[in-house]
Amino acid sequence: MNAGAAGITSARQLGTLLGLLALCCVLWILTPHFLTVSNLLNVLQQSAINAIVAAGMTFAIISGGIDLSVGSVLALSGIVLANVLQAGGGLPLAVTLALATAAACGLLNGLLVTGGRLPPFIATLGMMSVARGLALIWAEGRPISGFDETFRLIATGRPLGVPAPVLITLVVYGLAHVALAHSVFGRSVYAIGGNEEASRLSGVPVRWHKTGAYIVCGLSSGVAAVVLTARLNSAQPTAGIMYELDAIAATVIGGTSLFGGEGTLVGALIGALIMGVLRNGLNLLDVSSFVQQLVIGIVIIVAVLIDTALKRGR
C-alpha cells in the first residue's frame, strides 16, 4: 500500500469516479433513455463548458486563491469573438483575440492579487463586475447572433463521431494536465497553495506562478466562450452568469481543497460530469429546475462532507 500523495489522491478520485458510476446506474434503472449513446454524448456536450471552466478554476484554487470572474470573462471574451467575426476579421484572428482578452483579464486578476496584494475573492469579484460591464457596454446590452457555418462547426462538428466540444474539452484537459502535473509551473502552483512563504524562501518565483494560475483560469474561460458562442450561434453579454459557482462546485466535488495545495484535474473533470449527469438525469425524470437546484446543492455539501471525513480519518 502506498501511503503517499499519489495513494491518497487516487483513492479520493476513485471515490468520486464510483460516485459518478453509481449515479449513472441509478439513472439507468430509473429511466431507460439515460443509457443511450445519443443521450450520453448529449451529457458530455452539455458538461463541456463547465468542465473547461473548471479546469482553469482548478489552477486558481490549488494556488490558494479563487476566481469569481470566469463567467463574466467568458461573456466579454464571447463579445470580442462575435464582433471580430462579424467585422469580417476571420476565424483565426477572432479566436486569438477572444483568448487574448480572457488571458488579459486573468493577468489583471493575477497582478491585483500578487502586486496589489488584494485577497483573490475581492480582486476577482471586482473583475467579475468590470468584465460584465464591458461586455454589456460593448454589445449595447444585446446579443450578437448569426455566424457562418465554418465557425459553428466548433459546436456542431463530429469528427470521428465525437462532438467537437467533447474533443476540445479533452484537449484542454490534456494540456492542463501536463502543465499541472509535469511542469515547473504546475508544481509551483501546488507548492504556493500548500505554503506560500516556504515556497518563496525556496526560491520559487511566487508572484510569477500565481499570476500564471489566474492567466490559465482566464484562458480556459476564453476557450469556453468560443465553444458556447458557436453552440448558441450567438454571443450574449449576459452569458455565463453563475458559471463561477458551477466551476467551483465541480472542482470541489472532485476533491480539490479550497484551502489550496491539493487537488487534481481528473477530479474536476469527474466533478463536472457528475453535475452534468445529474442535470441531465433530473431533466429526463421531469424534475423541475427548482428541485434540481436543491439536489445539486445537496450533492456539493455531501461530497465535501465525505471529503472532510476521509481527511480526518487518515
Binding site: G4, A5, S183, N195, L201, S202, V204
Partner: protein, 489 residues
C-alpha cells in the same frame, strides 16, 4: 500507560510501550526523532487513538476518547508550538472555553481575579488584561501552564518547552515547574537538552524505535549512558572536529540596515568555515538571515558574493546566487507539508531538474532517493507526504532541499532545534562535510555549546547590531553571554 501499540500506514510507531509517572514527579521522556515520543503524547492527549494497551489514571482504567475528554480527565499538554489565541487577553486565554459566568454572561471580574490568582500561584506577575501577542515566548508558555492549572490538570506533558527560550526564561520555567510538582502534579517532560533533563527530572524513560529501552532514576545514569540507550551506538565527541583551511571569501555583507531591526551589520564568510551567530532571542539573528536571503526588504547595505556585487531582492535571486536557507520554523517556512518528500527536495532545484519548463520526474525521484540515503531520512517512500514525518526527519528534508542543489553558501537558522542527540550529530557531520567540500556556513543558534563547538568564528548580536566577534576556539561561554547581554567583560 501499559502495552501501548500504535501502527501507522507503513510504520509501527509504538510497540508495547509502558510509561508510569508519579504525582509530584518530573518524568523525562527521551528518544531519537521518530522513536515514538510524539505518538505517545498524542495518544495521551486523545489526538490519536491507540491500537492496543491500557491507560490508568490514579489507578482507574480510562479510555481517552478525544482531546476534550483528555482535558476533562486532567491531562494537559503544552506543545512546542504554542496554542494561544494571540489577540485575546491573558485571562481570556487561560479560561478559553470555560469562562466563569454570571447570569449566562462572562463574569469578567471573576475571570481576571482567578487568572491573577493562578499566575500568582506560579510566582508570576503578568498583567492578565494584556493581549497574549504582546508577551514574550516564555511568558506565553507560562500562560499555557496556567491554563493547564485552570483545567485542574493532574498530568501535564511538556513537549520541548525550552526549545525557543533563552537562559533566563528557562530558569523561570523551571521554577514554575517546581511549584507545579509541589502541588502534586505529575509532569512528563520531553527535551533533548541533557543539562536540563538532569536538572529538572527525577526519572527518565528512554524510547527507541517505538519500544521501551529502560527507565532509570536520573541520579543513577550519566549523559553518555542515556545517549547510548537512545542511539544504541557510541556517540562520542559531541561536536565532531574537522580540519579545513579557510579559503577565499564567499560572502561579504556591508552596512546592512533595516530600520528599527538591523543596524549597520557587517560580516564576511569564507569558503571552508562555519560562522556562528549567537545572541538572545530577538537580537536580530533571524532577521539578519532573512535579509541576506532577500526574504525581507532592506533599507541599506551591500552584498558581495564571490567578489561580485550581488543584488538580492528576492529569495529566488539568492538561490540563483548559490545561497541555501534553513529557516528557524521548519513547518511554517521550511517545508510545504502537503507535498511529498521528493517534491519538497525538488523545490529549490526546479531549474536544474527541468527542460522546456517540464520536470524530469525520474531525476527528481533519483535525487530524492540519494538524499534519503545520504541523510538517513526515515520515510517509507520518496512520495510520502512530509506532514507525516517526524520533526527530525522533516528537518533533514529541509537540509536535503539545499544539499541536492549547487548551493555553497548556507544559512542555517537553529538547525538542531527540537532534534535529538543522534540526529544532531548527523547534522553536525553534514555541516562539516559541506565546509570540507569548500562551502561556507552561517549558523544561527541559541545553543551556546553548539555554536561554540561548531563554529570557527562567532559573531554575537545584540539589538540588531553585531556586538562582538570571537575566535570560537579561544572564547568562553561566559564571554559570549556577556556580549549578548551587553555587559562589559
Amino acid at each position: 500507560m501499559r502495552g501501548i501499540c500504535k501502527q501507522f500506514p507503513g510504520v509501527v510507531a509504538l510497540n508495547d510501550v509502558a510509561l508510569e509517572v508519579q504525582p509530584g514527579e518530573v518524568h523525562v521522556l527521551l528518544g531519537e526523532n521518530g522513536a515514538g515520543k510524539s505518538t505517545l503524547v498524542k495518544i495521551l492527549s486523545g489526538a490519536v487513538q491507540k491500537d492496543a494497551g491500557e491507560i490508568a489514571l490514579a489507578g482507574e482504567r480510562v479510555e481517552i476518547r478525544g482531546p476534550d475528554h483528555a482535558r476533562r480527565l486532567g491531562i494537559s499538554i503544552i506543545y512546542q508550538e504554542l496554542t494561544l489565541v494571540p489577540h485575546l487577553s491573558v485571562a481570556e486565554n487561560i479560561f478559553l472555553g470555560k469562562a466563569p459566568r454570571r447570569w449566562g454572561l462572562v463574569d469578567w471580574r471573576q475571570m481576571r481575579h482567578d487568572a491573577e490568582r493562578l499566575l500568582h500561584g506560579l510566582g508570576l506577575a503578568i498583567d492578565v488584561t494584556r493581549p497574549v501577542s504582546g508577551l514574550g515566548l516564555a511568558q506565553q508558555q507560562m500562560v499555557e501552564v496556567a491554563r493547564a492549572l485552570a483545567d485542574e490538570a493532574r498530568v501535564l506533558v511538556m513537549d520541548e518547552p525550552t526549545s525557543a527560550l533563552t537562559g533566563v526564561e528557562v530558569e523561570q520555567l523551571f521554577s514554575t515547574t517546581a511549584r507545579l510538582i509541589a502541588r502534586g502534579v505529575a509532569v512528563v517532560y520531553i527535551s533533548h537538552r541533557m543539562d536540563e533533563v538532569f536538572r529538572i527530572g527525577h526519572r527518565v524513560t528512554v524510547l527507541r524505535d517505538g519500544r521501551n529501552v529502560a527507565t532509570h532514576r536520573l541520579a543513577d545514569v550519566t549523559v553518555a549512558e542515556l545517549v547510548q540507550m537512545m542511539a544504541n551506538r557510541e556517540v562520542s565527541d559531541q561536536y565532531p572536529r574537522r580540519q579545513v583551511a579557510r579559503k577565499s571569501e564567499l560572502l561579504r555583507v556591508e552596512g546592512l540596515t533595516r530600520r528599527g531591526i538591523l543596524h549597520d551589520v557587517n560580516l564576511s564568510l569564507h569558503a571552508g568555515e562555519v560562522l556562528g551567530i549567537a545572541g538572545l532571542v530577538g537580537a536580530g539573528r533571524t532577521e539578519l538571515a532573512r535579509a541576506i536571503m532577500g526574504a525581507d526588504p532592506i533599507d541599506a547595505g551591500r552584498i558581495t558574493i564571490r567578489g561580485q556585487a550581488a543584488r538580492i531582492r528576492t529569495p529566488a535571486a539568492a538561490v540563483r546566487q548559490g545561497l541555501g536557507f534553513l529557516p528557524e520554523d521548519r513547518k511554517a517556512h521550511g517545508l510545504v507539508l502537503s507535498l511529498s518528500v521528493q517534491h519538497n527536495i525538488a523545490l529549490p532545484n526546479h531549474q536544474r531538474m527541468s527542460k522546456w519548463g517540464l520536470l524530469d520526474g525520474r531525476r527528481e525521484r533519483r535525487d530524492a532517493q540519494r538524499m534519503i540515503e545520504q541523510l538517513r531520512i526515515k520515510t517509507p517512500a520518496p512520495d510520502r507526504i512530509t506532514r507525516w514525518l517526524s520533526g527530525g526527519n522533516q528537518q533533514k528534508v529541509v537540509l536535503a532541499k539545499w544539499l541536492a542543489g549547487h548551493a555553497d553558501i548556507f544559512i542555517f537558522d537553529e538547525p538542531t532545534r527540537g532534534i535529538d542527540v543522534a540526529a544532531r550529530r548527523d547534522i553536525y557531520e553534514l555541516i562539516n562535510g559541506l565546509v570540507e567540500r569548500g562551502a561556507g556556513v552561517i549558523m544561527v543558534s541559541s545553543d551556546l555549546p553548539e555554536v561554540l563547538g561548531m563554529s570557527d568564528r562567532v559573531l554575537v548580536m545584540r539589538l540588531g547590531r553585531i556586538q562582538a566577534e570571537f575566535d570560537a576556539s579561544a572564547v568562553s561561554e561566559a564571554a559570549v553571554m556577556n556580549a549578548a547581554f551587553g555587559v562589559a567583560s
